[in-house]
Symmetry: C2
Subunit: 337 residues, 2 copies
């Protein structure tokens, strides 16, 4: 599994170093990054970790415990250690993009089975002149050698809840305008197909409405009747186990799965970024994992950003990255069966 | 404190009967309703409760424990016991409205200090030809003998979180259109002024943005810059302790208050119904209370509806109603000091 270094001005390198303090948690991971940056990250985390440059995936087997294997990505800026902490920097953006490209090359070459991405900064990527706004678009474009970009959706997972988003980084006004029966249906199909990766062939899918009380029969808005319900009906005729649209304010509570409260649904489809992310993050971001569904390979990432407010201080929490690696490992293992 | 009976086809009467099974929880409460309906509710809950018609508030002191004191509201339909369970019925809607009117009369007469409302059904209210769509509008109109309706806002409270909503029952599209600097500012003022009722003179108020990541400096939408930030600046010059706008997906997590995780804020202002209600309800509706801020009296209600799916079965959970009564009692007691 390739772990990309992320933005060097943020917490990416240091949480990766944290990950490697646990041989079990980091088992099978290879860092796509810069050896010097990862040496500094290892010293920041105070973990007495070694860093080893790896030129050939076969060498991975020989890496001793508590040593960080780093694939020195070609074409990185020479002065990455001079990038100031916690600032948007084109060099950091360029390096982040190169690491992602290298990971996808590893997928295409066949020695890499999954990509776990440390956080990047969208403005740094843009400052470096990278044409894609973020990870998802970049992976989508690089995933397929032809020009047919696979449709993707964001899945958020924590130990209690799975949520798939129909729209992501759009102004709320534009997100509403972007909803169509077609993209809701596509979200349902991608979710249904992807569920095999978490071990379910017929997941119980709930669809959250857009409006308060899911519009209460058209009393507050009509997207439920005009767009969402028709998508659900079509999906049901395709054999997808889906219900809704449900009131957004209670469907996540109903799907929440704990020892005392078995969830009524296996995954909830949310129309907007914050309808889905508010419940996912409410109990804390430590265990949240972000997964891109629809790519021809497994891709996970932690559920937080570059955290410029604490970068370089060695106090960033690697829990979400560790959860992302764990989830990627589970999914890859299931694929291999 | 007046407890209004709610819609007789729903769970209102039976959860009120549940409340009276605990002398402590129901202390000081008088039901505004119908004696026969409450007798039936008492028998449904199986609690061996008596029901006593009260004609004068002074009689309340003589009501024995485990007896439900009912103020027989004048002008109720005669055949309320014939209203079928779990259906919209004009008679139930009319009765619900009369009970609310009687409670407000009690406030105006001075013998009632707070109103706790059991759930009503908006369609039954409408079927009865009542001109107001729900509790809030009705109380707002009845509260002031003149025609100046006080501006009100909905506060949701549970043991971990307080949320005040800028917009409520509007289609999401219309809620966005309804946002103005003026109504956000008014929400901040009402919240700040009301906090004395929960014991804080300078509550730490956080404002949630509208768009993903609170628009990330205008990247996804401009309401944060154009509408929300100006309201915050004006409120700050008025001495209100308010910060934001913050990303909607993390501000509720940050405000969440538990023994292990002291909240960073005392109350969060949400732009839309579901941004605010999703985190309030995520851990369960049992302890949630709905409060109307801005009225000249204390008004609370449980955080659920008429629950037609379980009405008349004696299995409805009265926890939220009990929490609503407890909160009203706390606020009234603080007012009286």
């Amino acid at each position: 599994m390739a772990v990309t270094m992320g933005d060097v001005a943020g917490i990416g390198p240091e949480i990766i170093a944290q990950l490697f303090r646990s041989p079990k948690a980091s088992s099978g991971c290879l860092v796509m990054g810069d050896v010097a940056v990862m040496r500094r990250a290892a010293s920041i985390t105070g973990g007495l970790l070694a860093v080893m440059a790896v030129q050939d995936p076969a060498q991975l087997a020989n890496v001793p415990p508590r040593c960080i294997p780093v694939w020195q990505v070609p074409g990185l800026p020479m002065d990455l250690l001079e990038v100031p902490w916690s600032q948007v920097d084109a060099r950091a953006g360029l390096a982040a993009a190169r690491c992602i490209e290298a990971a996808v090359q590893g997928i295409h070459a066949g020695w890499c089975t999954a990509i776990v991405t440390a956080p990047i900064h969208k403005k740094a990527l843009s400052a470096a002149g990278i044409q894609w706004p973020g990870h998802t678009e970049m992976l989508q474009a690089l995933a397929s050698p032809t020009n047919t970009k696979p449709p993707v959706r964001m899945l958020l997972v924590n130990p209690e809840l799975r949520v798939v988003l129909v729209t992501v980084h759009l102004a709320l006004r534009e997100a509403i305008a972007a909803l169509t029966t077609e993209n809701i249906l596509q979200t349902l199909r991608i979710t249904h197909q992807s569920a095999a990766r978490w071990g379910q062939s017929h997941p119980r899918i709930a669809v959250a409405g857009l409006n308060p009380h899911a519009s209460e029969d058209g009393l507050f808005g009509d997207e439920e009747q005009k767009l969402i319900a028709p998508a659900i009906v079509i999906a049901q005729t395709e054999g997808i186990n889906v219900q809704g649209p449900f009131a957004p304010d209670t469907v996540f509570m109903r799907a929440r799965h704990t020892a005392n409260h078995p969830g009524e649904f296996d995954v909830v489809i949310a129309m907007t970024h914050d309808h889905g992310l508010i419940p996912i993050k409410y109990l804390g971001v430590e265990h949240g994992v972000n997964v891109t569904l629809g790519l021809p390979f497994v891709r996970t990432s932690p559920d937080h950003g570059t955290a410029f407010d604490m970068a370089g201080q060695g106090r960033a929490d690697a829990a979400s990255l560790m959860a992302a690696v764990r989830l990627a490992r589970e999914w890859v293992t299931r694929d291999a069966r």
